[in-house]
C-alpha cells in the first residue's frame, strides 16, 4: 500500500533550504505584497517585492511551511530576483520542481511546492493591475511602455487558478 520512496524527496538540498531558506524575511514598505495559505495543511506564505525598471529588484518571503514549501519558496526567489518582469512571467512550475528534483512529487504535496509560486504570480498581477491604472492617469512614458493589457492580467489570474 505504501507509495514507497517518500523519504527520497528529502535530499540534502531540501533539508538545507528548510534550515536556511534563501531570501527569507520581509521588505520594509515593498512595492507589492501578497499572502495566501493552503487550507488543508495550514501552510501560509507572504511574498514582498520591489520592482524597478521592469525588474524584480528585491524579493523576500516569510510564513510557515514544510521543508518542501520552504525549499521551493527559496528557489523561486532565487530564480526571480533581478530578472525582468517579462522573464519572471514565464517562470512555471517545472522550473521550480526541476531545480529541486521534485518532478514526480505526489499530488498532495504539489500544493506545498507551488504555494509560493501561486503567491508570486498573484503578487505580480496585483502589481500589474495597479500599474496599469497608474499609467492611465500619468504621462510617464516609461510606465506606458511597461503597461500591460488587461487580457494579460486575466491570463495571469487564470494561470494562478489552474496551478493546482
Amino acid at each position: 500500500m505504501s507509495s514507497g520512496g517518500n523519504a527520497d524527496i528529502y535530499h540534502e538540498m531540501i533539508v538545507d533550504y528548510s534550515r536556511n531558506p534563501a531570501n527569507f524575511g520581509k521588505i520594509e514598505d515593498p512595492d507589492v505584497t501578497f499572502h495566501d495559505s493552503n487550507p488543508l495543511c495550514g501552510d501560509s506564505i507572504d511574498i514582498d517585492m520591489n520592482i524597478s525598471d521592469n525588474t524584480v529588484s528585491d524579493i523576500k518571503f516569510h510564513g510557515k511551511g514544510c521543508a518542501i514549501c520552504m525549499a521551493c519558496s527559496s528557489v523561486l526567489t532565487e530564480i526571480t530576483k533581478g530578472k525582468s518582469l517579462e522573464d519572471v512571467r514565464a517562470v512555471g512550475k517545472d522550473d521550480i520542481l526541476g531545480e529541486l528534483g521534485l518532478e514526480h512529487l505526489q499530488a498532495v504535496r504539489i500544493k506545498c511546492a507551488l504555494l509560493s509560486l501561486k503567491v508570486f504570480k498573484s503578487a505580480l498581477y496585483t502589481y500589474l493591475g495597479r500599474h496599469m491604472q497608474d499609467s492611465g492617469s500619468s504621462a510617464d512614458p516609461a510606465a506606458a511602455d511597461a503597461a500591460t493589457s488587461s487580457e494579460e492580467i486575466d491570463r495571469l489570474k487564470e494561470e494562478v487558478a489552474g496551478l493546482y
Binding site: 524527496i9 528548510s18 534550515r19 527569507f24 495543511c41 510557515k64 514544510c66 520552504m70
Partner: protein, 383 residues
Amino acid sequence: MIDAIGDYYRTYNANTHRAVYALAEEATEAYEAVRDKVAKFVNVKDRQEIIFVRGTTEAINLVAYAWGRGHVKPGDIIVTTEYEHHSNIVPWQLVAEERGAVLEYVRIDDNGELILDDLDRLLGTGRVRLVAFSLMSNVLGTITDADAIISKCKAADVPTLVDGAQAVPHMPVDIASLGCDFFAFSGHKMLGPTGIGILWASKRMLGEMVPFHGGGDMIREVHKYESTWNDLPYKFEAGTPNIADVIGLGAAIDYLERIGMKNVRSHEVLLTKYALEKLSAVPDLKIYGPKDASRRGGVISFNFQSVHPHDVAYIIDEAGVALRSGHHCAQVLMEKLDVAATSRASFYLYNTTSEIDALVESLDAVAQKFAVRGKKEEDGAVK
C-alpha cells in the same frame, strides 16, 4: 463491518419504511435494530431520541439550524472551547452572525485543560444560551470535566451540547448520567463506515425544534400548502437514509461491545503512558496536552521545534502507526499553540507497544536527518 454492508446490498437492498414487501421489511428491521444498539451503547433510554445523520458535523449543524436559529437571540452568548474541532465552532459562528449573538471561548491552560473560571465568568453574565464542548479533544487528548461543566450549566439553566466524536470510540460513555441536552458522534471514528453519525437530543429539546431537512419520511401528511411532521426520530431523518452504513455501524458497535469499552480504554491508557514516556526522550520534541494518561485519551500531538509536522508525517509514513500532520480541523487551537500544525499519533485497540517503539525510532531518524540539535541560525527570525 465490511461483511455487514456487503450483505445488505446483496440481500436486503430495498428502501426502508416505504414498501410493504419482505425485502423492505428486513431492511427496516435491520436499520431500526441499530437504533436500539446505539441507544444501549451510549446508555440512552428512549430510542426515539436517536437520530441518524451523516456525522458529527451534520449533527451539530442540525442543532444549530433546528434549535439554534429559533432560540438564540441578539446579544446572547454561545460558549465553546479553544480545543474544539471546526465542526463545533463554525456552525456557532454562523448562527451567532445570523442572530446577532456572540461566540465566546473557554480557554485552555498550559496543560491543555479547560480553565473553568472562564465558564463561571461567562455564565455570570446571564446571557449564555448554549455551552458546546467536546468530551475529548481530538488533538490534545484531554478528557473534559463534563460533570463540572454540565452541573454549572444546569445551575444556570443553560443547555449543553457535547461533541462525543473523539470520546465515544475510546472510552465508555453514558449519556443518561452525563445529563447534557445534545450529544453528537460519528461512525467512522469507531471502526464504522463513513457517512453515518448520530445526534442524540432529549425529548424536551427535540420538542422545541423545527424540522431541518424537508422531504420524504420526515412527514406525516403533505398537502399542497401545509404539511405535518412524522413522529420522532423520523421528523429529523428526511430522505432515503444511509441504510447500508447504519447496518455497518451496528456491526462496529457489536465488535466494540464484544471487546468491552472498559477494556478499550484501559488498553489505551497503557499505550498512552508508554508512548508519553518514550516520546519524552526524543530530542527537541514538544508534546502537547495532559501528561497524566488517566486524564487523557490516546491521541498525542507533538512537534519538533524545527521540522515541520508535514515533513515528519511524510517521512515516517512507513512506521505502522497512523501519524497525521495538520491542523486536525482545530485551527483555533493551533493559533493558541502558535503553530501551523502538529503531528498526531492515535492509538486504538489494535495498536501495540512495539508500534510505538517503531514510531519513536523513526522520529529519531527524522531528528537526525534534520539534525535538529544544531539550531539553524535564522530560527524564526525575520530580517
